[in-house]
């Protein structure tokens, strides 16, 4: 079983200290739109040394050179898998304060940047991937369309028509995280070369490209630290070298589906951040708050809630550790990904709502943090594939490939 070692814990402590000292005090201003989110995030990646790590990345080599089979746990190497662990701890610690900030950061680096680093040409990685990883540029990842949500690939209408040495994009995307502020858009579109087949490919579109426009930010229930909007392509011409991976890009649907797995694998991490913080706040409050002459924590009904919340937290933590282990050493199945996404998202919403209950009227107030985490948590059940989509995929796997 994969566990955090001393070095990992030191990284976790440092991230936590940073989030509590530097992000928590300004999070209301970020949510209210008084501070643009990426300003403090840029300072964060600079101070924590993440920028310098990204500068040091050798982009001429594949991201993970060794095959998963060759990666074996080495107990003598405390830094093994550090990039995976540090990345996840950063998202988790950010989610303790603001899952919305974590989502925007994750979309920029993990989804937009990650897609380019995983599949882009060396030139694309340098020109667009690295600036996204360093937050020099802000990235968006555009899959969902007004008519294509759960059935994102099947119902996709956005097209990229081959036209000499350009592609011409037409269509619209919606619910796009960082849409209003992004510089670089990773766009899923059906490539039309004039023939019969239209395979889905990823393209890089830049803010300054003529024909690209974005809508006004949506008013949302939660994730308010993160801005979301529509993105429109209206005869948007991009040079051919913006096809991610170049002309040799894999042509199957599976190649674009990998990105979807990435997105889902981040959910246990965000969920754990939400749950840890809500649980800590709830226990702390239950010990202090006196009603009927006794601290709440002495009441059986409160203990019942806390005991069940604890079970959920440790289950989610185990899934979080397992997801990291599989990211480092390989062996992740579709069932694993969907299970983690389904369970952790539901537990995050549930634990956050339990925390509100324990805090009573105070839990409903902004000052007490848990209402923010609860509103943000709900998105985990919707984004990256709804709960139903996880269940549908799991059902399919259980009916076909799963063996006892």
């Amino acid at each position: 079983m994969f566990e955090l070692n001393d070095t990992h814990r030191m990284v976790q402590d440092m991230f936590r200290q940073y989030m509590m000292n530097e992000i928590e005090p300004i999070i209301d201003d970020i949510e209210d739109g008084k501070i643009p989110l990426f300003e403090p995030l840029r300072k964060m990646v600079e101070t924590l040394g993440i920028r310098s790590q990204m500068d040091a990345l050798d982009l001429s080599k594949p991201l993970r050179g060794d095959s998963p089979e060759k990666r074996r746990p080495d107990p003598d190497d405390p830094l093994q898998g550090m990039e995976v662990v540090a990345g996840n701890l950063l998202i988790k610690e950010m989610s303790r304060v603001s899952p919305g900030a974590a989502m925007s950061f994750g979309v920029c680096t993990g989804l937009a940047g990650g897609t380019i680093l995983a599949k882009g040409t060396v030139e694309q990685k340098e020109a667009f991937g690295r600036p996204l990883m360093k937050l020099d540029k802000i990235g968006a990842w555009c899959l969902t369309e007004p008519g294509a949500g759960s059935d994102a690939l099947g119902s996709m209408r956005t097209t990229a028509l081959e036209d000499g040495d350009h592609y011409v994009l037409n269509g619209s995307k919606t619910f796009i995280t960082n849409g209003p502020v992004a510089d670089i858009f990773v766009v899923y579109a059906k490539l039309d070369r004039g023939g019969a087949g239209k395979e889905i490919q990823n393209f890089i579109v830049l803010r300054e490209d003529a024909g690209l426009s974005t809508g006004t930010p949506f008013q949302k229930m939660g994730m308010k630290a993160s801005q979301t909007s529509e993105v429109f392509f209206d005869d948007c011409r991009i040079p051919k070298d913006r096809l991610i991976g170049g002309e040799t890009a894999a042509k199957s649907r599976d190649h674009v589906k990998e990105g979807l797995s990435n997105e889902r694998s981040a959910i246990p991490t965000i969920a754990l951040g939400i749950i840890e913080r809500c649980f800590e706040i709830a226990v702390g409050y239950a010990k202090e708050r006196v009603q009927f002459g006794r601290p709440l924590i002495e009441f059986q009904l409160i203990r019942n809630r806390l005991a069940r919340m604890y079970v959920a937290m440790e289950n989610v933590r185990n899934l979080f550790l397992r997801t990291m282990q599989q990211a480092i050493f390989g062996g992740q199945t579709k069932l694993d990904v969907c299970m983690g996404k389904l369970y952790c998202a539901e537990m995050a919403t549930w634990v956050a709502n339990e925390a509100i209950a324990i805090l009573g009227g105070y839990g409903y107030m902004r000052e007490y943090v848990v209402e923010r985490l609860a509103r943000d948590a709900k998105l985990l059940e919707i984004g990256a594939g709804t709960a139903e989509m996880q269940i549908i995929t799991m059902g399919e796997e259980l009916a076909t490939t799963w063996k006892p």
């Binding site: 001393d6 070095t7 030191m10 990284v11 440092m14 200290q17 940073y18 101070t47 924590l48 040394g49 993440i50 310098s52 790590q53 405390p78 830094l79 550090m82 540090a86």
Partner: protein
Amino acid sequence: MDILVCMKQVPDTETKIVINPEGTGIVTDGIKYVMNPYDEFAVEEALKIKEKMGGTVTIVSMGPQRATEAIRTALAMGADKGVHLCDDAFEGADSYSTAKALAAAIKPLSYDIILGGKQAVDHDNAQVYAALAELLDISHVSIVTQLDVAEDGKSAVAQREVEGGAREVIEVSLPAFIACQKGLNEPRYASLPGIMKAKKKPIDVIDLAKSGLSADEVGEKGAKLKIRKFFLPPEREAGKILEGEPEELATQLVKLLREEAKAI
């Protein structure tokens, strides 16, 4: 410049202190330990001097096994190496026997300046640095809020806080011990690459034998001070609100002041 920093690991300032039933100490179960906050200023100042003048920063700490975590934190901030005085014999030390052990570890080292926090927030004695400076036969400047080391590294000008918000400016020849106060600087965060590098930086562990001291010079045995008892201040009782006409109130108040509070 060879820069030393004396650093102690202490309970997190948010720890809720509970005294053990015997009254001989605090309950240490579940306590989170951190670098003494004032020592963070010392580490930061040492790193700034190093960045300006070159040299090495060595962290010197006395404490149990767990103190290596705090040493690693300082290494992750950018210090070069650690010296860890770690032996059961060092336990139960007072300011004097702490200084004694630190001096033994420091004497064989080459140093141009020694920095430390103005006090450790656990026992709040604020005496170790004075005793240490005495044992090393160097000067010390306490409660320093600004420090400028001369270009030749032979002297420094320190500003220290005195009563009423006034500042005292002291020029001191080096080596000297500088006891750092809040306001001196803004300690940096350990960075991710810093933490990864810290893993490979050397920590020299010094036990009693290696320190060259004898068991009765250090720890509880070498202490000049015996702590007889720990207790928490009594919990404050709720105040009394008197009710009635002004004359009645005055009579009640005088009665209470005389009989209960015994103030008059």
